[in-house]
């Protein structure tokens, strides 16, 4: 077992192994513990007090100008926000609240 681990570490490098194992393991554990369908807000969410408008302003502006909720239809926002959830690493809570805000038209 130790031999296999040593070979894997040698192949991907120690930093790579640390990133993959620690992030993957931690996330898997948290994901399994929460055991919720995608889109539901987790109990241990990071911003229980923040509104969708606040999260929209904070997260979007980190990379680009914030776009008006009226610039896309509710159905289009669903697709755009799924894209942003993956690209910008949004938490499920952020994704849900921002999407609700955008779909409501602001």
């Amino acid at each position: 077992m130790t031999k296999i681990l040593t070979r894997i570490c040698k192949w991907i490098g120690v930093p790579g192994a640390i990133i993959v194992v620690s992030c993957g393991g931690l996330t898997w554990l948290i994901g399994c513990a929460s055991n919720k369908p995608s889109g539901e807000v987790s109990a241990g969410a990071a911003h229980p007090e923040k509104s969708g408008a606040q999260l929209w302003a904070e997260n979007c502006v980190r990379c680009h100008n914030i776009r008006s909720p009226g610039s896309l239809s509710p159905a289009q926002w669903e697709v755009a926000m799924m894209h942003m959830r993956v690209r910008a690493n949004l938490t499920p809570e952020e994704h849900k609240k921002i999407l609700e805000f955008l779909k409501s038209g602001g």
Binding site: C23, N65, S71, A80, M82, N89, L90
Partner: protein, 464 residues
Amino acid sequence: MNRSYFSFLNRIIVCGPTALAFIVIPLSVSAQDVNSTSSDYVSRAEYDKLKAEHEAMKQELEALKATVRQMATAPSPGAAPAQPAVPAEGPSENKQVVTTTSTVDELRQEVDALKLQIKETFPGTTKFLLAGYGTAAFTARSGEDPFFDAAFNALFLWKLTDRLFFEGEMELEFEDEATDLNLEVAQASYLLNDYMTIGLGRFLNPMNFFVERQHMNWVNKLPDKPLAVYDGIFPESEMGAQLRGVIPIGPTKLEYAAFVANAPGLITESDDVSEIGMLDFDNDANFGGHVAVGGHVGFIPIPEVEVGYGIQRSKVGPRDQAVENILQSVDVNYVRDATWLKGLINLRAEWGWSHVDHFVYDADGSQGFGPLSFNNNRNGGYAQIAYRPTHLDNDIVRNLEGVFRYDRINQMHTPVGFDEQRWTFGLNYWVTPSAVLKLAYEVDDKNGGARDQNAFMMQAAVGF
């Protein structure tokens, strides 16, 4: 007499009320009967009134039915609602018409919502979004002919289910008197759980913050892109699989991405000697058969700040002479829109390092420049500040944005033979949040005897 008189009076006093009682009680009972009788039997006037009300209600019901039928067969949800054909004959009728109209509005909203729900179940219609950006530019660089340029990047997004998502990005641009079509992204993503997403295909390089989040022309603050981190020492996209997500830790967030992908190639043969030792990031056929492993970790302690570290490691070069390659990057980002700043300030910096182990190029001298070996370490990056006075009242001024960037690449000891640094000053005007006109002047400085190439650049970029 007196006695008989009093006796008579006494009888009157006693019998009077009794007689009165006998007279009044039946009368009162009779009166109650009359009243009760009036509720059982309707007068002609009351009948006519009730009949008229009944007729009016029937007309309203018919009008409602007709309206619902019209809405059900209406060509578009935006069509105006039909008005019920109820004549407004008085105040009570007006009130009824208002109530009916509001009921019809509610019905219409419900029907619209249902229509939308039904429509959303159709695959490939409302679950699809065409996004992207277009660019037109002009560049006048010293030592080169000035030129106009245009590019178009189409981003196709499909949400197939709540967990499955596909994105594809195609770039069309003019290059060498021809139109180039490049597949930038083609990735299927699946949300394994709330904190973990797996992606397969071709994806933007997760270890490079600028490439993944900032390279889009309507997002990038200047007409050109920084040295080293873009089209420099890092790949722009990877072909393989990635695992990514975010872990909320109290009020902070930890982002992560880990990937395996085709390794870059090592340029060991070229007509242009300055390219020798560079990495070939268009190694889609994966010559050499190596696999790159890498990742990126980003920490967001407060919403305005993000710091990250990325790494990629692989073997490069011919299979029998492969050498180690390590790419690393550090990025810092601070974005704050504050009243005391009277606007939006945007600070970004990224630095990267590339290391390729010792390799002897053209070992037998057959290419005419070998045997050649050198210290194949390169590094570079950029620091940028942008400010836009978004809190000012003047519409024109608050849409202006000043930008300054310093970028640099160090590769003096490679066959390239020089280091380069640039200072770029830019002024942007934001027409909309995703449409910008950019003007910039770039001061270039190369050492090692290479010619400096200052540049004037203009660019219009539109994101959609």
